[in-house]
């Protein structure tokens, strides 16, 4: 396995608040990693730094062996696609017009979309299963459909790494399962995935690594079994173990294993 992205003691402060403190981790090519942590812990910030959108303080982010600070934005955009939590459009763009924007890092000053670009757009829409929506107006889609279109836009960048910020938020359980299936499929296509996930039920069985980010503490990583330990979650989320189904389940599972 090769390392695709590496964070090496990365720090980031927002005003006086330190959101990332010596954050270090590696993403292996082909892996599927969940980023968990309480609200305000800095998950979105970490994804934006990984996507090259936000400038970090000290430390290093290395993409395919090269320091990210030295890479051109277009070069980063051809390797990493960041799918944000929200997308609101001011005008009535169709799904196809939205997905077309994914080709931005490949287009020159005067050159429009070529045959290859069109093929990449069609393939991205097929992969995310939004080809049937291509003429629909993005702003009129349901939450689940919008999520798929945003992923299609990311896929049109032909990235090696897909960063997703809370992709299952506001989706019903049926759409959540569809989305998780899509992530499995994309992983099968060779795309590395890092997704900020709020619902801890979705982590085990779907992700092979977990990054846990909690306020004021150094980021830690491990397998889902290691990172979903009740004691760790209780401290990170500041939640009593008997008050949330996930912690109750994890505690019962752990006692079952011990017995």
């Amino acid at each position: 396995m090769t390392t695709l992205l590496q964070f090496d003691a990365v720090n980031f402060e927002y005003g006086r608040r330190r959101l990332l403190q010596d954050a270090s981790f590696e993403l292996q090519a082909g892996g599927c990693t969940a980023l968990i942590g309480p609200n305000g812990a800095g998950k979105t910030t970490l994804l934006k730094i990984a996507g090259g959108v936000l400038r970090y303080g000290s430390g290093n982010v290395v993409l395919q062996g090269e320091p990210m600070r030295q890479l051109a934005r277009r070069q980063i955009a051809r390797t990493i696609a960041l799918v944000p939590q929200h997308l609101e459009l001011p005008f009535s763009f169709t799904v196809e017009q939205v997905v077309e924007q994914g080709r931005t890092p490949y287009l020159g000053l005067l050159r429009g979309a070529s045959r290859e670009d069109r093929a990449a757009i069609d393939r991205a829409m097929d992969l995310a299963d939004v080809s049937g929506l291509r003429h629909r107006v993005f702003n009129e889609l349901s939450g689940g459909e919008r999520q798929r279109v945003k992923i299609a836009l990311g896929l049109a960048q032909e990235p090696k790494l897909l960063l997703l910020d809370e992709p299952t938020q506001n989706l019903d359980i049926g759409r959540q399962v569809e989305l998780i299936d899509l992530l499995h499929f994309l992983r099968g296509e060779g795309i590395t995935i890092l997704a900020a996930i709020h619902d801890l039920h979705l982590v085990e069985g779907n992700f092979d690594r977990v990054l846990l980010l909690s306020p004021g503490e150094t980021l830690c990583s491990g397998t889902p079994a290691e990172m979903l330990r009740p004691a760790l979650l209780e401290r990170a989320f500041n939640c009593p173990p008997d008050r949330h189904p996930v912690l109750v389940e994890r505690t019962q599972m752990q006692s079952g294993r011990t017995a």
């Binding site: 934005r73 051809r78 001011p90 009535s92 763009f93 017009q97 931005t104 429009g112």
Partner: protein
């Protein structure tokens, strides 16, 4: 896809035909009515009309009709660009301070440097451009925070700068108690009136507007990307700040040329891109030529109406546009409040 391209080309062809027809129609309208057939004959055979009619047509009406077309095209395209830049269908050169900057610069030019010109450009025109750019740069600087620029702050700053500069221009007029030529020109600009410009000014304006529109073409695709938001555009590898500077410079140039020709004309940059978007959707690349043609037609008709309703007197087209565009602005505001994006 191919169907959309055909529709786009057909619409452009239709608008070009309508533009030609409106040009002829507008030339015939006014205190002295001249039939369209007579106008066409006069354009191709110089001796087809009486000397008086020929002078009215070719030396008074034609420059005015062409000037109103240029003003309309420039304002509509500037409006399209600013709306795309600010991700807001309510942005317009008048609303965001660009027109206010241009008129302030033009006022400085006409009061203090009226005899100065450089490379065929009068100091008034150059100062109108400088005023527009400085106003936009000021608004941009006020709204900038770190690497990003907040759109809401930008619009508010635009409103404040616009109010300051437009009212300062009124102050120039008060200072000139003699009521001389400069004052009269300034008043006609503040009302928004196209008038009959000299052919040299018309030719230079046409050249500048054409160059600005050609230069803006590569930026149109980038405006589509900017519609996703600054961070999204940045993530897609777009050089957001360069794109913004390019849009501001070209939009300000178009505004300045329009103001130098016709003064403060509000809402033309609001109505035309909106209607074009309803017909074609929001793709800025396709909207550019359609908006330019539509803007030219729209202002030619508005100016013809302005000089025909109470002929031989006329209403300044800026006042007419405020009557037409004001309610449209409020309608858009209401619609935007309901969360409906055009």
């Amino acid at each position: 896809m191919a169907e959309n391209v055909t529709r786009w080309l057909a619409l452009m062809l239709l608008l070009a035909i309508v533009l030609a027809a409106v040009t002829v129609f507008s030339m015939g309208m006014g205190a002295v009515h001249i039939a369209p057939a007579a106008i066409l004959r006069a354009l191709f055979h110089h001796d087809a009309l009486s000397t008086t009619d020929r002078v009215i047509l070719l030396e008074v009406r034609l420059p005015r009709v062409l000037a109103s077309g240029l003003v309309g095209a420039a304002l509509a395209v500037a409006g399209l660009m600013f709306q795309g830049l600010f991700r807001n269908p309510m942005a317009d050169p008048y609303v965001i301070g660009s027109s206010g900057g241009a008129i302030f610069g033009a006022a400085v030019g006409i009061f203090f440097f009226s005899q100065v010109s450089l490379l065929g450009f009068s100091a008034t025109a150059m100062l109108a451009f400088a005023g527009s750019v400085v106003a936009m740069a000021l608004v941009y600087w006020l709204a900038q925070s770190g690497e990003q620029t907040s759109v809401v702050t930008l619009l508010l700053a635009g409103f404040a700068v616009s109010a300051m500069l437009t009212n300062s221009t009124y102050f120039f007029e008060l200072l000139d108690s003699s009521g001389g030529t400069s004052s009269r020109i300034l008043i006609s600009w503040l009302y928004g009136s196209v008038g009959t410009p000299p052919w040299t000014q018309l030719a230079i304006s046409a050249a500048v507007i054409s160059v600005a529109m050609i230069a803006s073409f590569p930026l149109m695709r980038r405006l589509n990307t900017l519609a996703l938001g600054d961070e999204y555009a940045l993530q897609l590898g777009l050089r957001v700040e360069y794109t913004r500077v390019g849009i501001i410079l070209i939009g300000s140039l178009l505004t300045a040329v329009a103001v130098a020709l016709g003064g403060l004309i509000s809402f033309a940059g609001l109505v035309v891109p909106h209607v074009a978007r309803l017909l074609l959707g929001p793709d800025h690349v396709r909207l550019l030529p359609v908006t330019a043609l539509g803007g030219a037609i729209f202002l030619m008709l508005a100016d013809t109406l302005a000089r025909s309703v109470i002929a031989p007197s006329e209403i300044p087209v800026g006042i007419l546009m405020a009557f037409l565009g004001g309610p449209f602005f409020l309608y858009l505001l209401r619609k935007t409040k309901r969360g409906y994006a055009v």
